[in-house]
């Protein structure tokens, strides 16, 4: 940020553009609650074969990250935080 930017108020059309860009990233990445629920249960089903999962601590959602190879634009990403209680070692 330049020093002069501190004194210049951002124009409202720039504010609109910036807000839109942000809201569209999450709009585009978000899918319907039904699909989200399906993704969730599928991931849990697969992981349950290998580990005992703490069901209360699961956090799976779409988010957006800055992609370096994409000119610094944000791209959608799946974020998943799945606490494991116990690894299932007797899986063949």
């Amino acid at each position: 940020m330049k020093i002069s930017d501190l004194f210049k108020k951002k124009s409202s059309s720039d504010v609109a553009k910036d807000r839109l860009k942000l809201v569209l990233v999450s709009d585009r990445a978000t899918c319907s609650p039904e699909i989200m629920q399906k993704i969730r249960s599928d991931i849990i089903e697969v992981l349950s074969k290998y580990a005992e999962i703490d069901m209360d601590g699961i956090d799976i959602n779409f988010t957006h990250i800055d992609a370096e190879e994409n000119d610094g634009k944000t791209v959608p990403a799946l974020y998943a935080n799945i606490p494991i209680k116990n690894m299932n070692h007797n899986v063949k």
């Binding site: 409202s12 720039d14 609109a16 807000r19 839109l20 569209l24 709009d27």
Partner: protein, 259 residues
């Protein structure tokens, strides 16, 4: 073989019906055979914007249900011989028609007309699905406001998912003075965000209100909006037309300057 064009937006009140009326009338002015279909069943309005509300006998649902022939339901325009309106039913709801039935109807009309233009209801539910079912091309109308642009983005995504081949954007109600002061997004700003092809930018023009009051679309007259709509029509037919300078000064001084 004609082309089916759906005029849609997601958000209500951005000017879909006015755009449909003007593009249809403009294409008829260019000697094309045109049918306008109001698909907003239950909330019809294209008839009043066209000034044809007193001539309605049959409607879209009558045609779909087979109560009359297509030709019987088509209302010929007051001014243009090659322009017709198929009005929506006012006492039914969106579920009276299915996407398959709409597709069949537009396929049939394509045989006899150059352009079939569908005025889509606001929203993304059944009415929207019906309107886009048979479309070859979509014209997405938005205004330079965050709410309208956001909804346009959603609509563009849905059009892509439904394999509509061509989607183009109309930015409506632009105010050159505000754009100049950076207090309103320009058409370029909107295009930058939505990443679709721009086919028209229409100024916020009080003549539109007057034209709607009178039930006579202003396309092709001397007003800025009239010229902007005519340019869109020419672009629809494939002609390359440069975008209007919406900042043309109003008033007597501007008039002299322009000459």
């Amino acid at each position: 073989m004609g082309e089916v064009i759906v005029v849609t937006s997601g958000k209500g009140g951005v000017g879909k019906t006015t755009t449909t009326a003007n593009i249809g009338t403009g294409l008829a002015k260019l000697n094309k055979k045109v049918v306008l279909i109001d698909t907003d069943i239950g909330l019809r309005n294209l008839d009043v914007v066209m000034g044809l509300e007193n001539r309605i006998v049959y409607n879209l649902v009558d045609v779909i249900e087979g109560n009359c022939k297509i030709k019987q339901a088509l209302i010929r325009d007051k001014r243009y011989e090659t322009l017709f309106l198929l009005p929506a039913a006012q006492t039914k709801d969106k579920t009276s028609v299915t996407p398959e039935q709409m597709k069949k109807l537009t396929e049939e009309l394509k045989q006899d007309y150059d352009y079939i233009i569908l005025d889509c209801p606001a929203g993304i539910e059944q009415g929207f699905k019906n309107a886009i079912a048979g479309a070859d091309r979509a014209l997405v109308v938005t205004t330079p406001e965050v709410s309208a642009v956001r909804d346009a983005d959603r609509i563009i995504g849905l059009l892509e998912a439904n394999e509509i081949k061509k989607t183009q954007l109309i930015v409506n109600r632009l105010r050159a003075d505000m754009v100049k002061r950076h207090e309103m997004m320009s058409a370029d700003d909107v295009i930058d965000i939505l990443a679709v092809e721009l086919i028209g930018q229409v100024p916020d023009d009080e003549n539109i209100v007057i034209a709607t009051n009178n039930g006579e679309p202003l396309v092709g007259d001397n007003s800025l909006a009239g010229q902007a709509y005519m340019n869109i029509c020419r672009r629809v037919t494939g002609e390359q037309v440069p975008f209007l300078d919406l900042d043309a000064k109003k008033g007597i001084f501007g008039w002299f300057k322009k000459k």
